[in-house]
Symmetry: C2
Subunit: 174 residues, 2 copies
């Protein structure tokens, strides 16, 4: 429970001026032990998502990764509006994703970041349904209300970047 005390100390130290109401609510929930922190647990950093305009060109444009990493074949996932390859570094992976189709959820990101860029991180959890319930209670916004099958067969959900320091966080059932 060291982390819990740390959060309490930080809240006291920072004071209300530097802490948003949303963060304060989360800290208060934790302090009041209204939420049991042991219901579910985070696991490994599964992958880092990198949005690119073109997966094939990206593979060529990153020769160093192609040469030294373990690169998967490109796969299209029309139901998710993406095409992707994975580069495996042994402990974790990069996922290069390009928009597929006009309605791709990546289209806006690529329009704002022409050459591509860091898009999301994906963390494993041991119980995604419990995580979804608890995160909602903590007022952390979910991009979709419930877990659903991701591009890789496992159930996933996304946490809103505005509640994660600007980082789009994907949680994946381990």
């Amino acid at each position: 429970m060291a982390s819990w005390f740390r959060a309490g100390r930080l809240a006291a130290k920072l004071g209300p001026s530097s802490v948003t109401p949303r963060a304060l609510h989360s800290a208060q929930c934790l302090r009041n032990q209204a939420i049991d922190p042991r219901v579910w647990a985070l696991g490994r950093l599964d992958h880092v998502g990198v949005a690119v305009p073109d997966v094939d060109a990206a593979c060529l444009y990153l020769p160093v990764l192609i040469l030294f990493g373990q690169v998967s074949e490109a796969r299209s996932h029309p139901e998710h509006g993406i095409r992707c390859v994975f580069i495996d570094f042994g402990n974790s992976m990069l996922e290069l994703i390009e928009p597929l189709g006009e309605a791709s959820p990546l289209q806006g990101f690529i329009e704002r970041n022409k050459g591509g860029g860091l898009h999301h991180i994906c963390l494993e959890v041991n119980d995604l349904d419990a995580a979804a319930r608890q995160l909602s209670d903590l007022k952390i916004r979910l991009v979709s209300p419930k877990p659903r099958p991701g591009a890789h067969g496992k159930n996933v959900l996304f946490l809103h970047p505005k509640d994660c320091q600007g980082v789009l966080v994907e949680l994946q059932q381990a």
Copy 2:
């Protein structure tokens, strides 16, 4: 050498229209075997850097990570213009970094991304000097010309995001 052939096949398939001169140069170097791909090797994905305006507030704002991750104490590195904490997921880490001082290299990023965001990825390499030489030969631009001590004691160098699909890549001596 499967990856090498893959790069060659891709270059042929994509044609000059979709491949930048820089990428084509890299592919040609590889095809001509002017560069030995076995001089050095990539290792693990050491960490993902997340820029935040305030490390302490970020730790409070990400209660889920604080509760379940292994969080280090915050450390200031005035010589690098950053203050950071690490969140350890066992296989890899998040590094939350805030700008320290007016001349911090993070200042511009935080001005463009008020709430913070994904900033860089850090990959280990087994021979950083060899990597620096070879990457220069491949016309991949380095942010500084030579490896130098990073915030964590080990030598590092940064690859220019424009040569890595918009991703700022830190290479760290393993």
